[in-house]
Symmetry: C2
Subunit: 272 residues, 2 copies
Amino acid sequence: MELNKLVDQIKIKKSFLCLGLDSDLSKIPQFLLNESDPIFSFNKALIDALSGLIVAVKINTAFYEVNGVEGWNSLKKTIEYINTKYPELFTIADAKRGDIGNTSDKYAKAFFENLSFNSLTVSPYMGSDSVEPFLKYKNKYTILLGLTSNKGSNDFQTYPSKDDNLFKQVLKKSKLWKGSNNLMYVVGATKSEYLKEIRSIVPDSFLLIPGVGAQGGSLIDTFKNGANQNIGLLINSSRAIIYAGNGNDFLNKSISVAKTYQIEMEKLLKTL
Amino acid sequence: MELNKLVDQIKIKKSFLCLGLDSDLSKIPQFLLNESDPIFSFNKALIDALSGLIVAVKINTAFYEVNGVEGWNSLKKTIEYINTKYPELFTIADAKRGDIGNTSDKYAKAFFENLSFNSLTVSPYMGSDSVEPFLKYKNKYTILLGLTSNKGSNDFQTYPSKDDNLFKQVLKKSKLWKGSNNLMYVVGATKSEYLKEIRSIVPDSFLLIPGVGAQGGSLIDTFKNGANQNIGLLINSSRAIIYAGNGNDFLNKSISVAKTYQIEMEKLLKTL
């Protein structure tokens, strides 16, 4: 997908909401367990119900790998369904991959070619040659872990000091890599105090922001400190939306939560 | 697997060789493409041929994910075959996973419970709470990326300075995590000059050493600088062994390469 199409969608839908499909057999409405592929049925129902309120869908691979071969089949059917019926949705494989070059090549082929995701989350730990195999794909986006939303982000990402730490090095160095125009970054909503500084390093890049909702980040603070002239933000919500209800009316409850986010986003977009 | 069983195997087989199954449809002997699952047939043949020369098997998940649902099925059949026929082999899922806690929980369940791997490689970038879900499994091992074998390891792992850099922080901090007795570390054979210092930080941990062979690392230097009283090393070789030949006699060529490694290892073990 070309990036301006994503920006167009944000303006059309007045939303920069990303739906996170952390779909878990033990948490989805129990009546769906009668379906031949409960996870796919759950995902499909959510995507159909929410497609007007969201601009992106993030599939967390762990929740599919845990179901083995069947799980990979659910993942495949979900991304194929989106690509066929909602090609305007920006798709993210939240897989946090990254390895030596010949191995990253395989991951890139798996997610960008075979499954046709628009983007993939990647860990920067192994450096340039572990990430560049993903960057060579035109109109495919590598979402590099920058400053994550969890407590453990303080172990290494903010090492050695506030002024000159690892996650800033990741932002700075990655800008110099071949194909860096295809980079986006993960920045946790729980770290909105860092966003202004992050914007000074990567003013033009899209940021994928998890951590609003269950993890406690603020949408308003994130927008004020993180939005750029192209909006430049995708706010992910997973559990707060997909598990809003668990009865026959679960879709209405999910729509209600997503709509609340969308209305807040519409207000914020007017302030730009 | 209990760690002393791995040490026993090393002593019995006089080998600390790990077979890396980076099994690629485009590189395996072409006659195997007539099999119903060529990758599994290739893996099975190699494991049967080499089981006396190796103590561990490392499955690189990228090479299976690239084949989608079929690939996960090949992976599943391979690990089940090893667990059934060769339970004495230490198994490694080389997946380089790691995410926030509730997601790492799923990866741990996928690899440790469902697929019954003995160990999994994990990226440290997201810190303690992204790794601890793996560490809580008894007799399962989390092989944390320390200093990797690729050129890009110089981007962040050796930041900010030689004396006080990220990979040493990873070693030092991870020792304090809950369940840290289940940690092992990845250290590239191309970085053998660092091994003495690494051993001073993690004297007792097993190290998984890729980078001998195709990547140019030295087995002798690695052993001299990295072995401990329990040997403490698993030397991985993937391409050099599995693609030693590609005709009908490919197994003999793989055996020959693996045997060369084993003989060198036997000599080194005598020096301990």
